[in-house]
Symmetry: C3
Subunit: 145 residues, 3 copies
Protein backbone atom coordinates (compact mmCIF):
# COMPACT_ATOMS: atom_id res chain seq x y z
CA UNK A 1 0.00 0.00 0.00
CA UNK A 2 1.17 3.48 -0.85
CA UNK A 3 -0.84 6.51 0.22
CA UNK A 4 -0.74 10.25 0.35
CA UNK A 5 0.38 10.55 -3.27
CA UNK A 6 -0.43 13.31 -5.74
CA UNK A 7 -1.83 12.15 -9.09
CA UNK A 8 0.10 12.53 -12.33
CA UNK A 9 -1.02 11.92 -15.89
CA UNK A 10 1.07 11.12 -18.98
CA UNK A 11 0.20 10.56 -22.65
CA UNK A 12 2.15 9.31 -25.65
CA UNK A 13 1.19 8.05 -29.11
CA UNK A 14 2.90 5.41 -31.25
CA UNK A 15 2.62 5.49 -35.06
CA UNK A 16 2.43 2.53 -37.45
CA UNK A 17 2.21 1.92 -41.18
CA UNK A 18 2.29 -1.86 -41.54
CA UNK A 19 3.12 -3.12 -45.06
CA UNK A 20 0.88 -6.22 -44.74
CA UNK A 21 -2.86 -6.48 -44.23
CA UNK A 22 -2.42 -8.49 -40.99
CA UNK A 23 0.56 -8.41 -38.60
CA UNK A 24 1.49 -8.49 -34.92
CA UNK A 25 4.11 -6.03 -33.62
CA UNK A 26 5.74 -6.25 -30.17
CA UNK A 27 5.37 -2.82 -28.53
CA UNK A 28 6.45 -3.80 -25.01
CA UNK A 29 9.65 -1.76 -25.20
CA UNK A 30 7.78 1.32 -26.43
CA UNK A 31 5.38 1.12 -23.49
CA UNK A 32 8.23 0.57 -21.03
CA UNK A 33 9.98 3.64 -22.46
CA UNK A 34 6.81 5.72 -22.12
CA UNK A 35 6.46 4.60 -18.50
CA UNK A 36 10.08 5.55 -17.74
CA UNK A 37 9.54 8.94 -19.39
CA UNK A 38 6.39 9.52 -17.30
CA UNK A 39 8.20 9.05 -14.01
CA UNK A 40 5.06 7.37 -12.64
CA UNK A 41 5.79 4.70 -10.01
CA UNK A 42 2.33 3.43 -8.95
CA UNK A 43 -0.80 3.50 -11.08
CA UNK A 44 -2.49 2.16 -14.21
CA UNK A 45 -1.28 2.18 -17.82
CA UNK A 46 -3.87 2.08 -20.61
CA UNK A 47 -2.65 1.06 -24.08
CA UNK A 48 -5.28 1.15 -26.86
CA UNK A 49 -5.57 1.04 -30.61
CA UNK A 50 -6.87 4.42 -31.85
CA UNK A 51 -8.28 2.72 -34.96
CA UNK A 52 -11.18 0.31 -35.15
CA UNK A 53 -9.56 -2.34 -37.35
CA UNK A 54 -6.61 -2.87 -35.00
CA UNK A 55 -6.02 -4.30 -31.52
CA UNK A 56 -3.71 -4.00 -28.56
CA UNK A 57 -3.42 -7.23 -26.59
CA UNK A 58 -1.08 -9.11 -24.28
CA UNK A 59 0.16 -12.58 -25.12
CA UNK A 60 3.29 -14.55 -26.00
CA UNK A 61 6.20 -13.30 -28.13
CA UNK A 62 6.34 -16.49 -30.24
CA UNK A 63 6.11 -16.45 -34.02
CA UNK A 64 4.34 -19.80 -34.27
CA UNK A 65 1.57 -18.52 -32.01
CA UNK A 66 1.21 -15.40 -34.13
CA UNK A 67 0.82 -17.59 -37.24
CA UNK A 68 -1.83 -19.59 -35.32
CA UNK A 69 -3.66 -16.35 -34.45
CA UNK A 70 -3.61 -15.19 -38.08
CA UNK A 71 -4.98 -18.51 -39.37
CA UNK A 72 -7.63 -18.73 -36.64
CA UNK A 73 -8.85 -15.17 -37.13
CA UNK A 74 -9.03 -15.72 -40.88
CA UNK A 75 -11.25 -18.74 -40.23
CA UNK A 76 -13.47 -16.88 -37.73
CA UNK A 77 -13.83 -13.81 -39.99
CA UNK A 78 -12.53 -14.44 -43.54
CA UNK A 79 -11.37 -11.47 -45.63
CA UNK A 80 -12.83 -13.07 -48.79
CA UNK A 81 -15.36 -12.81 -50.27
CA UNK A 82 -15.20 -9.06 -49.68
CA UNK A 83 -18.82 -8.78 -50.88
CA UNK A 84 -19.98 -10.93 -47.93
CA UNK A 85 -19.79 -7.97 -45.54
CA UNK A 86 -22.50 -5.30 -45.63
CA UNK A 87 -19.89 -2.90 -44.26
CA UNK A 88 -17.96 -3.22 -47.53
CA UNK A 89 -20.88 -1.66 -49.45
CA UNK A 90 -19.50 1.63 -48.10
CA UNK A 91 -16.55 1.15 -50.46
CA UNK A 92 -14.26 -0.38 -47.82
CA UNK A 93 -12.83 -3.92 -48.01
CA UNK A 94 -12.11 -4.22 -44.28
CA UNK A 95 -15.35 -5.64 -42.89
CA UNK A 96 -13.45 -8.71 -41.68
CA UNK A 97 -10.91 -6.50 -39.85
CA UNK A 98 -13.65 -4.96 -37.67
CA UNK A 99 -14.64 -8.50 -36.58
CA UNK A 100 -11.08 -9.75 -36.01
CA UNK A 101 -10.41 -6.72 -33.82
CA UNK A 102 -13.33 -7.63 -31.52
CA UNK A 103 -11.85 -11.10 -30.87
CA UNK A 104 -8.43 -9.67 -30.02
CA UNK A 105 -9.69 -6.55 -28.18
CA UNK A 106 -9.12 -2.79 -28.42
CA UNK A 107 -7.05 -2.16 -25.32
CA UNK A 108 -5.20 -3.46 -22.32
CA UNK A 109 -4.81 -1.96 -18.86
CA UNK A 110 -1.57 -2.79 -17.05
CA UNK A 111 -0.70 -2.28 -13.39
CA UNK A 112 2.30 -0.03 -12.70
CA UNK A 113 4.21 -1.07 -9.54
CA UNK A 114 7.53 0.38 -8.36
CA UNK A 115 7.96 2.12 -11.73
CA UNK A 116 7.60 -1.08 -13.79
CA UNK A 117 4.85 -2.71 -15.86
CA UNK A 118 3.69 -5.33 -13.34
CA UNK A 119 3.81 -8.38 -15.59
CA UNK A 120 3.73 -12.14 -15.22
CA UNK A 121 6.67 -14.11 -16.64
CA UNK A 122 5.63 -14.20 -20.32
CA UNK A 123 3.42 -11.15 -20.79
CA UNK A 124 4.30 -8.99 -23.81
CA UNK A 125 2.20 -6.24 -25.42
CA UNK A 126 1.30 -6.48 -29.11
CA UNK A 127 -0.20 -4.20 -31.70
CA UNK A 128 -2.47 -6.31 -33.91
CA UNK A 129 -3.06 -4.91 -37.39
CA UNK A 130 -5.98 -6.32 -39.43
CA UNK A 131 -6.23 -3.64 -42.14
CA UNK A 132 -2.69 -2.50 -42.78
CA UNK A 133 -1.07 -0.38 -45.47
CA UNK A 134 -2.52 2.70 -43.74
CA UNK A 135 -1.27 5.08 -41.06
CA UNK A 136 -2.46 3.97 -37.63
CA UNK A 137 -1.80 5.04 -34.05
CA UNK A 138 -1.73 3.58 -30.53
CA UNK A 139 -2.40 5.65 -27.41
CA UNK A 140 -0.55 5.17 -24.13
CA UNK A 141 -2.12 6.90 -21.12
CA UNK A 142 -0.64 6.47 -17.65
CA UNK A 143 -2.13 7.81 -14.45
CA UNK A 144 -0.73 7.44 -10.96
CA UNK A 145 2.02 8.99 -8.92
CA UNK B 1 2.79 15.40 -18.54
CA UNK B 2 0.65 16.98 -15.88
CA UNK B 3 1.56 16.62 -12.23
CA UNK B 4 0.62 17.78 -8.79
CA UNK B 5 -3.07 17.14 -9.32
CA UNK B 6 -5.63 16.09 -6.76
CA UNK B 7 -7.73 13.05 -7.67
CA UNK B 8 -11.44 13.32 -8.41
CA UNK B 9 -13.98 10.56 -8.97
CA UNK B 10 -17.30 10.67 -10.83
CA UNK B 11 -20.05 8.11 -11.45
CA UNK B 12 -23.12 8.02 -13.66
CA UNK B 13 -25.46 5.28 -14.84
CA UNK B 14 -27.31 4.98 -18.15
CA UNK B 15 -30.59 3.02 -18.42
CA UNK B 16 -31.84 0.93 -21.33
CA UNK B 17 -34.86 -1.14 -22.24
CA UNK B 18 -34.21 -2.30 -25.80
CA UNK B 19 -37.31 -3.58 -27.68
CA UNK B 20 -35.32 -6.20 -29.66
CA UNK B 21 -33.31 -9.18 -28.48
CA UNK B 22 -30.11 -7.88 -30.12
CA UNK B 23 -29.20 -4.25 -30.88
CA UNK B 24 -26.31 -1.78 -30.87
CA UNK B 25 -26.84 1.72 -29.43
CA UNK B 26 -24.40 4.60 -29.84
CA UNK B 27 -23.71 6.01 -26.34
CA UNK B 28 -20.77 8.26 -27.25
CA UNK B 29 -22.74 11.45 -26.58
CA UNK B 30 -23.92 10.17 -23.18
CA UNK B 31 -20.33 9.43 -22.13
CA UNK B 32 -19.13 12.84 -23.41
CA UNK B 33 -21.91 14.50 -21.39
CA UNK B 34 -20.89 12.57 -18.27
CA UNK B 35 -17.27 13.63 -18.76
CA UNK B 36 -18.28 17.28 -19.13
CA UNK B 37 -20.42 17.00 -15.99
CA UNK B 38 -17.50 15.48 -14.07
CA UNK B 39 -15.18 18.40 -14.77
CA UNK B 40 -12.29 15.91 -15.02
CA UNK B 41 -9.55 17.01 -17.45
CA UNK B 42 -6.93 14.23 -17.23
CA UNK B 43 -7.59 10.61 -16.27
CA UNK B 44 -9.33 7.38 -17.23
CA UNK B 45 -12.98 6.75 -18.08
CA UNK B 46 -14.41 3.25 -17.54
CA UNK B 47 -17.67 2.40 -19.31
CA UNK B 48 -19.10 -1.06 -18.58
CA UNK B 49 -22.26 -3.07 -19.00
CA UNK B 50 -23.74 -3.80 -15.55
CA UNK B 51 -25.47 -6.90 -16.95
CA UNK B 52 -23.85 -10.11 -18.11
CA UNK B 53 -25.73 -10.49 -21.41
CA UNK B 54 -24.67 -7.07 -22.73
CA UNK B 55 -21.47 -5.36 -23.87
CA UNK B 56 -19.85 -1.97 -24.10
CA UNK B 57 -17.37 -1.72 -26.96
CA UNK B 58 -15.75 0.78 -29.30
CA UNK B 59 -16.06 0.47 -33.05
CA UNK B 60 -17.55 2.17 -36.12
CA UNK B 61 -20.91 3.97 -36.27
CA UNK B 62 -21.96 2.22 -39.50
CA UNK B 63 -25.21 0.29 -39.82
CA UNK B 64 -23.84 -2.25 -42.31
CA UNK B 65 -21.10 -3.18 -39.85
CA UNK B 66 -23.66 -3.59 -37.07
CA UNK B 67 -25.65 -5.96 -39.30
CA UNK B 68 -22.39 -7.87 -39.95
CA UNK B 69 -21.77 -8.11 -36.19
CA UNK B 70 -25.30 -9.41 -35.55
CA UNK B 71 -25.01 -12.10 -38.25
CA UNK B 72 -21.50 -13.13 -37.18
CA UNK B 73 -22.40 -13.38 -33.49
CA UNK B 74 -25.49 -15.41 -34.36
CA UNK B 75 -23.25 -17.84 -36.25
CA UNK B 76 -20.66 -18.04 -33.43
CA UNK B 77 -23.33 -18.52 -30.72
CA UNK B 78 -26.80 -19.21 -32.17
CA UNK B 79 -29.87 -18.38 -30.10
CA UNK B 80 -31.65 -21.52 -31.40
CA UNK B 81 -32.02 -24.26 -30.40
CA UNK B 82 -32.57 -22.82 -26.93
CA UNK B 83 -32.29 -26.33 -25.47
CA UNK B 84 -28.65 -26.55 -26.69
CA UNK B 85 -27.42 -24.44 -23.76
CA UNK B 86 -27.15 -26.04 -20.32
CA UNK B 87 -27.61 -22.54 -18.89
CA UNK B 88 -31.15 -22.51 -20.29
CA UNK B 89 -32.11 -25.42 -17.99
CA UNK B 90 -32.34 -22.71 -15.31
CA UNK B 91 -35.46 -21.43 -17.10
CA UNK B 92 -33.61 -18.72 -19.07
CA UNK B 93 -33.41 -18.59 -22.85
CA UNK B 94 -30.33 -16.36 -22.99
CA UNK B 95 -27.45 -18.86 -22.95
CA UNK B 96 -26.32 -17.55 -26.34
CA UNK B 97 -26.29 -13.95 -25.05
CA UNK B 98 -23.71 -14.82 -22.35
CA UNK B 99 -21.42 -16.13 -25.12
CA UNK B 100 -21.98 -13.23 -27.53
CA UNK B 101 -21.12 -10.81 -24.73
CA UNK B 102 -17.71 -12.46 -24.24
CA UNK B 103 -16.79 -11.90 -27.90
CA UNK B 104 -17.78 -8.22 -27.76
CA UNK B 105 -16.49 -7.56 -24.22
CA UNK B 106 -17.92 -6.12 -20.99
CA UNK B 107 -16.17 -2.79 -20.81
CA UNK B 108 -13.92 -0.20 -22.34
CA UNK B 109 -11.41 2.13 -20.71
CA UNK B 110 -10.87 5.46 -22.47
CA UNK B 111 -8.14 8.04 -21.90
CA UNK B 112 -9.30 11.51 -20.84
CA UNK B 113 -7.01 14.28 -22.14
CA UNK B 114 -7.66 18.02 -21.90
CA UNK B 115 -11.24 17.33 -20.84
CA UNK B 116 -12.08 15.17 -23.88
CA UNK B 117 -12.38 11.46 -24.62
CA UNK B 118 -9.00 10.90 -26.32
CA UNK B 119 -10.23 9.11 -29.44
CA UNK B 120 -8.88 8.15 -32.83
CA UNK B 121 -10.75 9.43 -35.91
CA UNK B 122 -13.56 6.83 -36.03
CA UNK B 123 -13.91 5.60 -32.44
CA UNK B 124 -17.49 5.57 -31.11
CA UNK B 125 -18.81 3.82 -27.99
CA UNK B 126 -21.66 1.30 -28.28
CA UNK B 127 -23.95 -0.52 -25.92
CA UNK B 128 -24.44 -4.04 -27.30
CA UNK B 129 -27.64 -5.76 -26.17
CA UNK B 130 -27.91 -9.54 -26.64
CA UNK B 131 -30.91 -10.26 -24.38
CA UNK B 132 -33.18 -7.26 -24.72
CA UNK B 133 -36.75 -6.52 -23.66
CA UNK B 134 -35.48 -6.10 -20.08
CA UNK B 135 -34.25 -3.14 -18.03
CA UNK B 136 -30.46 -2.87 -18.24
CA UNK B 137 -27.84 -0.36 -17.09
CA UNK B 138 -24.40 0.90 -18.06
CA UNK B 139 -21.93 2.36 -15.56
CA UNK B 140 -19.63 5.30 -16.31
CA UNK B 141 -16.82 5.84 -13.79
CA UNK B 142 -14.24 8.56 -14.34
CA UNK B 143 -11.17 9.14 -12.18
CA UNK B 144 -8.56 11.83 -12.64
CA UNK B 145 -8.26 15.50 -11.97
CA UNK C 1 -18.77 13.58 -7.38
CA UNK C 2 -15.99 13.42 -4.85
CA UNK C 3 -13.01 15.74 -5.10
CA UNK C 4 -9.93 16.87 -3.27
CA UNK C 5 -8.80 13.32 -2.60
CA UNK C 6 -5.24 12.05 -2.33
CA UNK C 7 -4.42 9.01 -4.48
CA UNK C 8 -3.67 5.62 -2.99
CA UNK C 9 -2.43 2.48 -4.67
CA UNK C 10 -2.79 -1.16 -3.55
CA UNK C 11 -1.58 -4.47 -4.98
CA UNK C 12 -2.29 -8.10 -4.19
CA UNK C 13 -1.69 -11.39 -5.98
CA UNK C 14 -3.80 -14.55 -5.95
CA UNK C 15 -2.21 -17.98 -6.58
CA UNK C 16 -3.74 -20.97 -8.38
CA UNK C 17 -2.79 -24.52 -9.27
CA UNK C 18 -5.89 -25.92 -10.97
CA UNK C 19 -5.98 -29.74 -11.23
CA UNK C 20 -7.83 -29.71 -14.60
CA UNK C 21 -6.77 -28.33 -17.97
CA UNK C 22 -9.83 -26.01 -18.12
CA UNK C 23 -11.81 -24.59 -15.19
CA UNK C 24 -13.60 -21.45 -13.99
CA UNK C 25 -13.05 -20.26 -10.40
CA UNK C 26 -15.13 -17.57 -8.69
CA UNK C 27 -12.70 -15.00 -7.25
CA UNK C 28 -15.25 -12.30 -6.36
CA UNK C 29 -14.73 -12.76 -2.62
CA UNK C 30 -10.95 -12.55 -2.98
CA UNK C 31 -11.23 -9.26 -4.87
CA UNK C 32 -13.72 -7.90 -2.32
CA UNK C 33 -11.31 -8.83 0.49
CA UNK C 34 -8.45 -7.08 -1.31
CA UNK C 35 -10.58 -3.96 -1.73
CA UNK C 36 -11.48 -3.96 1.96
CA UNK C 37 -7.81 -4.39 2.87
CA UNK C 38 -6.84 -1.47 0.61
CA UNK C 39 -9.17 0.97 2.36
CA UNK C 40 -9.84 2.60 -1.03
CA UNK C 41 -13.34 4.08 -1.31
CA UNK C 42 -13.45 5.63 -4.81
CA UNK C 43 -11.38 4.50 -7.80
CA UNK C 44 -10.69 1.69 -10.25
CA UNK C 45 -9.82 -1.96 -9.59
CA UNK C 46 -7.86 -3.88 -12.24
CA UNK C 47 -7.91 -7.69 -12.02
CA UNK C 48 -5.79 -9.52 -14.60
CA UNK C 49 -4.38 -12.94 -15.33
CA UNK C 50 -0.57 -12.79 -15.07
CA UNK C 51 -0.31 -15.77 -17.45
CA UNK C 52 -1.11 -15.84 -21.14
CA UNK C 53 -3.17 -19.04 -21.17
CA UNK C 54 -5.65 -17.81 -18.55
CA UNK C 55 -8.37 -15.15 -18.29
CA UNK C 56 -10.11 -12.95 -15.78
CA UNK C 57 -13.67 -12.10 -16.80
CA UNK C 58 -17.04 -11.13 -15.35
CA UNK C 59 -20.14 -13.20 -15.94
CA UNK C 60 -22.70 -15.38 -14.17
CA UNK C 61 -21.98 -17.77 -11.29
CA UNK C 62 -23.94 -20.64 -12.88
CA UNK C 63 -22.44 -24.08 -13.49
CA UNK C 64 -24.49 -24.77 -16.62
CA UNK C 65 -23.15 -21.59 -18.21
CA UNK C 66 -19.60 -22.59 -17.33
CA UNK C 67 -20.14 -25.96 -19.04
CA UNK C 68 -21.49 -24.05 -22.07
CA UNK C 69 -18.37 -21.86 -22.10
CA UNK C 70 -16.08 -24.89 -21.93
CA UNK C 71 -17.86 -26.66 -24.81
CA UNK C 72 -18.01 -23.49 -26.94
CA UNK C 73 -14.35 -22.62 -26.42
CA UNK C 74 -13.35 -26.20 -27.26
CA UNK C 75 -15.28 -25.85 -30.53
CA UNK C 76 -13.75 -22.44 -31.36
CA UNK C 77 -10.19 -23.55 -30.50
CA UNK C 78 -9.92 -27.36 -30.05
CA UNK C 79 -7.11 -28.76 -27.91
CA UNK C 80 -6.73 -31.73 -30.29
CA UNK C 81 -4.97 -32.35 -32.57
CA UNK C 82 -2.09 -30.81 -30.62
CA UNK C 83 0.01 -30.87 -33.83
CA UNK C 84 -2.43 -28.44 -35.50
CA UNK C 85 -0.89 -25.46 -33.69
CA UNK C 86 2.47 -24.11 -34.86
CA UNK C 87 2.97 -22.86 -31.30
CA UNK C 88 3.13 -26.46 -30.12
CA UNK C 89 6.29 -27.04 -32.19
CA UNK C 90 8.03 -25.24 -29.30
CA UNK C 91 7.32 -28.34 -27.19
CA UNK C 92 4.16 -26.94 -25.58
CA UNK C 93 0.70 -28.47 -25.98
CA UNK C 94 -1.21 -25.30 -25.06
CA UNK C 95 -1.65 -23.55 -28.43
CA UNK C 96 -5.43 -23.79 -28.02
CA UNK C 97 -5.23 -22.17 -24.57
CA UNK C 98 -3.66 -18.99 -26.02
CA UNK C 99 -6.64 -18.70 -28.39
CA UNK C 100 -9.30 -19.46 -25.77
CA UNK C 101 -7.82 -16.78 -23.53
CA UNK C 102 -8.29 -14.14 -26.27
CA UNK C 103 -12.03 -14.90 -26.49
CA UNK C 104 -12.49 -14.63 -22.72
CA UNK C 105 -10.05 -11.72 -22.19
CA UNK C 106 -7.02 -11.04 -19.98
CA UNK C 107 -8.45 -8.56 -17.52
CA UNK C 108 -11.37 -6.65 -16.14
CA UNK C 109 -11.54 -3.13 -14.71
CA UNK C 110 -14.18 -2.55 -12.04
CA UNK C 111 -15.43 0.73 -10.62
CA UNK C 112 -14.99 1.20 -6.86
CA UNK C 113 -17.75 3.31 -5.31
CA UNK C 114 -18.27 3.93 -1.59
CA UNK C 115 -15.74 1.19 -0.80
CA UNK C 116 -17.54 -1.50 -2.82
CA UNK C 117 -17.08 -3.14 -6.22
CA UNK C 118 -19.76 -1.24 -8.16
CA UNK C 119 -21.54 -4.21 -9.72
CA UNK C 120 -24.81 -4.89 -11.48
CA UNK C 121 -27.12 -7.54 -9.96
CA UNK C 122 -25.41 -10.69 -11.34
CA UNK C 123 -21.81 -9.67 -11.94
CA UNK C 124 -19.22 -12.07 -10.50
CA UNK C 125 -15.48 -12.25 -11.26
CA UNK C 126 -13.96 -15.48 -12.57
CA UNK C 127 -10.50 -16.83 -13.14
CA UNK C 128 -10.58 -18.87 -16.36
CA UNK C 129 -7.88 -21.52 -16.64
CA UNK C 130 -7.16 -23.04 -20.07
CA UNK C 131 -3.81 -24.73 -19.37
CA UNK C 132 -4.02 -25.95 -15.81
CA UNK C 133 -1.89 -28.25 -13.70
CA UNK C 134 0.65 -25.41 -13.37
CA UNK C 135 1.19 -22.60 -10.87
CA UNK C 136 -0.56 -19.43 -12.04
CA UNK C 137 -1.23 -15.99 -10.57
CA UNK C 138 -3.78 -13.19 -10.78
CA UNK C 139 -2.93 -9.55 -10.06
CA UNK C 140 -5.28 -7.15 -8.28
CA UNK C 141 -4.30 -3.46 -8.53
CA UNK C 142 -6.52 -0.78 -7.03
CA UNK C 143 -5.99 2.96 -7.36
CA UNK C 144 -8.14 5.68 -5.89
CA UNK C 145 -8.60 7.29 -2.54
Amino acid sequence: MTAGLIMKSFKKELAFNIPQRMAFVNITGDVQNALAESGIKEGLCLVNAMHITASVFINDNESGLHADYAQWLEKLAPHEPVSFYRHNRTGEDNGDAHLKRQVMGRETVIAVTEGQLDFGPWEQIFYGEFDGMRKKRVLIKIIGE
